[in-house]
């Protein structure tokens, strides 16, 4: 069964550094998402992406964040200058056309020190 994959599984970085989290959505999917889950808290929406542009973003997704689909398979989330409060599990999700569920990847645990 096709699945969403994410790399790396765990990323440790120092405050102020840039990080790029990578996702490979399911191949025929058209809608892509990033969510985050701070330890012990609920999963929060960050951004959705369709047709090579952001379709919706939350207030969390400020100028420090950006997303890109650099080729036909990858979908990336970049944090330009990480802060301690960016430490969280970041989930990528994708879904196909029409009314369908979002499929989530296993997540990348980001630790900012």
């Amino acid at each position: 069964e096709p699945e969403v994959t994410q790399t790396p599984s765990h990323q440790v970085t120092q405050m102020g550094q840039e990080v790029i989290l990578r996702c490979v959505p399911i191949s025929n999917h058209l809608y892509f998402y990033w969510y985050r889950q701070i330890l012990g808290q609920k999963v929060e929406f960050l951004v959705s992406f369709y047709n090579n542009e952001i379709s919706e973003k939350s207030e969390i997704f400020d100028d420090q964040f950006s997303v890109e689909r650099p080729d036909g398979s990858n979908f990336t989330l970049k944090i330009r200058s990480t802060k301690l409060e960016d430490s969280a599990m970041y989930f990528c999700a994708s879904r196909g056309q029409g009314l369908s569920e979002q499929y989530f990847g296993p997540g990348t645990r980001l630790t900012v020190t």
């Binding site: 609920k42 999963v43 929406f45 919706e56 989930f91 009314l99 569920e101 989530f104 296993p106 997540g107």
Partner: protein, 115 residues
């Protein structure tokens, strides 16, 4: 904006007993509703979903949920819990009027299964 409430942070159920996890949502129109399960260190796996039609939906692993519009609820049930069901369960709502761009999650319910 939509919101989801899962009133139970933790629930402990004996193996073989029945289970009901509560979920209430707030949304002005007919919502899209989902239950996801997260095992420790794992991602989110979809258990079941409701888009329209029959209000009782069946999912994987023997789970079912019932959409009750009058109560704004989408409670998850299982008739007989197995030890492997121990995990965190998240209810989520998708907003139809935003083209279903986002999912709003509840805070989750941690299910513990006792022998």
């Amino acid at each position: 904006a939509q919101s989801v409430t899962q009133p139970d942070i933790h629930i402990t159920v004996s193996e073989g007993a029945s289970l009901e996890l509560r979920c209430n949502y707030s949304y002005g129109a007919t919502p899209y509703l989902f239950w996801y399960v997260q095992s420790p260190g794992q991602g989110l796996q979809l258990l079941l979903k409701y888009f329209s039609g029959d209000t009782l939906v069946q999912g994987i692993k023997g789970f079912e949920a019932e959409f009750k519009r009058s109560q704004s609820s989408f409670n998850l049930r299982k008739p007989s819990v197995h030890w492997s069901d121990a995990a965190e369960y998240f209810c989520a709502v998708g907003a139809a009027d935003s083209g279903y761009s986002t999912l709003t999650f509840g805070k989750g319910t941690m299910l513990l299964v006792s022998p």
